[in-house]
Symmetry: D5
């Protein structure tokens, strides 16, 4: 759980009788490498099937911006965002994928999923 | 059900003995954000397998244009278009996907499906 | 069945002991809208697994060109081409897909399939 | 001169001793065809060299949005936007280019320029 | 001069005190090869600076469609369209470019210009 | 079996305990149309899972070049290459796909597979 | 002068009172490396302003095909094609550009021009 | 002059007898909007002809990173970077271009130049 | 097992209770052809689901760089990297794909997988 | 002058009576950063107008490969290659451009020219 989780706001899903998918792409994600202090840049892609709640987009933007000056590793930030969103949205299904820009000529993408019926 | 549903016209499917797919892409969709009053822009993609009826394209264009000055959220407009088309066409299968342009650097796509045999 | 079916010529499949796929793309398809009299333009994609016969490409070109001044709807022309080719080739499997250029800002693609073992 | 000109706000150019270029691209422009009543869609590209004033981006967004339900021809809206911006900014140089989406399979782009030293 | 020239309609240029450019792209041009009788396909790009008159887009569409079943060579159709538009519009400057699709693996583009001050 | 089969050389697969895939793309394939005598051009894509042997790339290049002045139909050359490689490599699985450049505005792709366990 | 020059046929330019440009792209050019005997592949782009004569496209195709089994260097074939076309067409201006596919990871393009008024 | 100018380090140009161009693209630029406090993102492109000094790339990276939490307008940051680099490098010629990501559906690019011989 | 395996360093996977995927793309891989002594170039793509350990990116970079002057065949280097990473990471699942640049106009890609539950 | 200059071989230009351009693109250039010892990767583009001599491509490949394990800065290697080629070819005109891959998220391109008539 991150210290930023409470920034996430939700609104009521008005179509809970139907499984449908919401995909959100945020290409302006930036955090800081905890080892070198250098900024990292990436694209966050969230996909989920809402149950009772949907994430409010403006609050999601502020939540993602809160990592701007945080030192955190690629694998950790991906899994922490997954856990924050799963806890707040209680979705039927959720996937978080972050594609990080090249460092030293090497690119990394981390993909983690959550399922209510696991 | 939207107030615009009656704009949708149909014509007879002459090949009901065969399951086939029709995909329609309408990249000039625009509505209004009910919170900020600012216009939203997106691309609507409809796919369906007709049963007795096909949607008439000109009437579909007018139906989609009727959202031009409506205040409606992303998730709602996608599900409402699904329900209007499902009611009017009674298709064997139907998918509605709307990709909305970036706001605050964040893009959202909503995808909902209907199946006659659910 | 279209009046143009007899334009289609075939040659013997020399490898009937093997299921293999032939895909043909014809991006210069044009017909006429029966409602407005205006020309329509599209790309025809045919895929099939031959049984005893393959379609001769030059005769296919003439067959597709024969729609140039025909008034015919999107859904009809796709299904009629499927039926003509299925009758002439008697293939193991056949798919016809026509992607029509935008009209009124809206694009339509129709996809129909035939299977010998349906 | 359009009725919307007074929506445009400016701020002081702090670097008037230097000729530099500002290019603004607004891909979500929409107006209405005065003949058919149908919506038109396009991308507005503005380029200018400021003299004493720069255009404030949020006011420019509202200015461009004000054409949303206006019936106006391609050539006219391009020239009117040029004249409004030239009057309000008094720039050293200004170019307005609008690329309109295809109608009837045909695309049009209109480009007009203004120079303080003409 | 082509027999179709009288299909072209014009409207008054309301900004004759300014040199500005109009570019029109029509990617659905088709005519017939006078040698082989086979259809040709291409993209017509027109650019001009209007003097007193602008070309009306719908009439231009009908004018270009009138070549649909005409047998005419690449070089000729480009120059004839140039001459028709120059005669009807009396523009300050005009360029006609037609890019023809590949035949026998070879693509041809013809570009011709007219200037009022030649 | 083609007369060129003996040009293909192999080397020992050092990892036969593992199923892995090798994909080879040769975009400079050319042969001759047996009907018209005109050259055909295409891209050959080979994929296989080796058993005891892998194909040596230089010998494969010479093998493919040997079709340069051969008159052979699209469907035949694809199936013959499949049979030559299957015979020489005895692979666990093999796919041959040739995408031929457009002739008369029409493109054809032929795809054939072989499996050791069919 | 190449031995193939006499394959080039011409037709009368009907618009000699106007300077206009013809561009021809032939992406299926192939010849043979005189050193290694290996085939070379490239894209030939011809641009010219005709005077009294235009090149007939089918004869140009045969002319370019005649290099299929000729051993000739990149720089030579480009200059020889320039000289053959200049001699046969006597154009006002002519440019020949050949882009050769990579060999040893290195790509070469040769561009040569001819002008009647040099 | 920015407070970050002293972060820029240089090294000696060993080829001052020749005018040559260095272009540097830094696509991970981010600063903060002084009005809204929201982060801005952009791509910085620098081009210059060195005189006695070249900019050291690592120091340039740190210099650009120092804007990460600075509130500064598009036009100002572009001109300030130009002035800092011009002062430190004393180049023969210098151009700074920043392309900022869309906000409210609108993109802005600012381009400023410096010349030693102005 | 390669002589470079000990260059690979790992860090603890903090989310072992969840199956998630890490994909790493390294487009600057280069080794040497053991036959010709000529350098080969390729793009390495690694995907894995970590168990107890993740690979440290900087050590992976040094590991991949150690092949710079090694003579090794395409198939071998792909399988050896797979075995080194499988031994060091003991992952739940691992895939190594190397796409090698064209040699003699022919491109090869090798893909090998490892699964802990095979 | 580099120690590798003598690797460059030439052949006689058979068309010295004509100014023509040769462009060579070598996307597999690699050298070593003299500061960090890390490999650099880039694309070398050479353009020249030959006088009496042309560069032989295979020797150019070996010349460029000789930088593989050399520690040399971006600006230096670009200027040194220019000087080596100018000395060996004595061309009428020559341009060397090297685009280096991103390091620390920053890309650099260096462009230098030589002219016989400077």
């Amino acid at each position: 759980m991150s210290e930023f989780r409470n920034l996430l706001e939700t609104f009521e899903n008005k179509f809970p009788h139907r499984d449908y998918k919401i995909e959100i792409v945020a290409p302006e994600f930036t955090s800081v490498c905890p080892k070198t202090g250098q900024p990292d840049f990436g694209t966050v892609t969230l996909s989920y099937t809402p149950d009772a709640k949907c994430v409010e987009l403006k609050s999601l933007k502020f939540y993602l911006q809160s990592y701007r000056n945080e030192g955190i590793f690629y694998e950790n930030v991906t899994n922490v965002i997954l856990e924050d969103l799963a806890a707040v949205l209680q979705p039927r299904w959720l996937k978080v994928e972050i594609h990080f820009n090249a460092r030293g000529g090497i690119t990394e993408t981390v993909v983690a999923q959550y399922s209510a019926v696991a």
